[in-house]
């Protein structure tokens, strides 16, 4: 996958900085999904730094790679806040910065239920050259990828997005669903989308011995997501949809690696999306900023 050298250098420096921080690493609790959210929040005081990559070669358009840097902080046990920085490289075109997103997830209920909800609120300041496909809403489709960067980056969308995230954990399986509503603040209609995911660890009991390649360190599952039109044209007409398997590997006391090939389900979708994610969770990073005499 092509990553622009300057962006690669920035990532290298960021992860080097993370490695040098005097805090322990830990496996993330989250599921292997790329678009679907589960109701797992970041543990309070932890900071997760993740790099998400996506590569694709749409029909009748230039191949591209999207890079997203994600920083997720557990403010409390019921509130997680995130910042995303996004860019993309398009072959025979250019490498550009797309913008940022601010995201918050709230757990409104004080305990788990058979179906547990989480409320998601996001503000996006991203130009229309964004190719991260972090969600699909409205009538997003393959035509969006055929516009040259110089043209699409000129329009910056200020967007608010809400999701109702629902999850169930039954017999080791996680079932998650996100209903998405998105509104471009520039007099655009409400757009809707969905994402569904199911995943399970390969082993439900942990090994007594410390091991790296134990089955409990792997998760596998699948997800499907797509657009549902706008409030004026709600439905599946002229929308795009994707589905594919998801796997992750949580290296004990190290990073988590996730991978997913995802396949377009209709002619308005990109044929294949290759996604991967590398994430580090820095534990109790806020303890660094506490006064020594308070410890």
């Amino acid at each position: 996958m092509f990553v622009h050298p300057s962006f690669r250098s920035f990532l290298f420096r960021l992860f080097t900085f993370a490695l040098l921080l005097p805090v322990p690493f830990c496996k993330a609790q989250e599921k292997p999904y790329f678009v679907t959210y589960s109701t797992d929040l970041e543990e309070p005081g932890n900071l997760e730094i993740a790099f998400k990559g996506l590569s694709a070669s749409p029909k009748d358009a230039n191949a591209f790679a999207s890079h997203t840097l994600e920083m997720e902080y557990g403010a409390t046990a019921w509130w997680t806040t995130e910042v995303y920085l996004q860019g993309q490289s398009t072959s025979n075109d250019s490498t550009i910065f797309n913008g940022f997103r601010l995201e918050n997830r709230f757990r409104p209920l004080p305990r788990e239920y058979f179906v547990t909800p989480v409320i998601y609120l996001e503000y996006e300041n991203v130009n229309e050259a964004d190719k991260s496909i972090m969600e699909v809403t409205g009538n997003d489709g393959i035509g969006d990828f055929r516009v040259p960067n110089a043209e699409s980056r000129a329009t910056v969308a200020h967007t608010v997005e809400g999701k109702l995230i629902l999850s169930s954990n039954v017999g080791g399986w996680n079932f998650s669903e996100s209903t998405i509503a998105e509104k471009n603040l520039s007099n655009h209609p409400w757009e809707f989308g969905y994402a569904l995911g199911v995943a399970r660890p390969l082993a439900l009991t942990a090994s007594a011995a410390a091991c790296v390649f134990c089955r409990q360190n792997f998760d596998a599952g699948a997800e499907i997501y797509g657009g549902l039109g706008t409030h004026a044209s709600f439905g599946l007409h002229d929308t795009s949809h994707y589905a594919g398997p998801v796997v992750d590997f949580r290296i004990p006391n190290g990073p988590t690696l996730s991978f997913s090939p995802q396949f377009g389900l209709n002619d308005n979708s990109v044929g294949t999306l290759w996604r991967f994610k590398l994430s580090y969770e820095l534990q109790q990073i806020r303890d660094i900023f506490k006064r020594k005499d308070a410890q």
């Binding site: 989250e30 589960s38 543990e43 409390t76 046990a77 004080p110 439900l204 942990a206």
Partner: protein, 132 residues
């Protein structure tokens, strides 16, 4: 207040509310445990292998807040306290699954139930507070 500063103000307001609500464990959660959950027993009770696996899980998921020796640190509660020792396995399982989000304890429902029981088996193998 300008349109630019309003989102920042709301963000800070929310953050200060979160810090205010965030408090330490006080044991009131024990009263919220339903009777049927309280009566549950650990399928791995008194077994050394699950307790050893629980120790691995504790190190990966719990020690960051409760300390490597489970004695607590930075105002986070000890898991070797009398309250924990007197709690039933079912009560601890309920707490691990549901957490106590408004008191700082996240739910661990995403861990498979068997692994939560392994953690409880490990906690039961620990000596009481103050002992090595």
């Amino acid at each position: 207040m300008t349109r630019r500063t309003l989102p920042l103000f709301l963000y800070l307001l929310l953050a200060s509310f979160a810090v205010t609500v965030h408090a330490q464990a006080d044991g009131k959660w024990l009263h919220r445990v339903p009777d049927e959950d309280r009566a549950r027993t650990n399928p791995f009770a008194h077994q050394s292998q699950p307790a050893a696996a629980g120790k691995q899980l504790f190190g990966q998921n719990c020690s960051k807040c409760h300390g490597a020796d489970a004695n607590g640190h930075n105002n986070r509660p000890s898991l070797r306290s009398e309250r924990i020792r007197h709690a039933t396995d079912g009560e601890l399982a309920w707490m691990l699954k549901n957490g106590n989000p408004y008191k700082g304890m996240p739910p661990w429902s995403s861990l498979p139930e068997q692994q939560r029981w392994q953690i409880i088996a490990y906690l039961r193998s620990l000596p009481s507070a103050g002992k090595p």
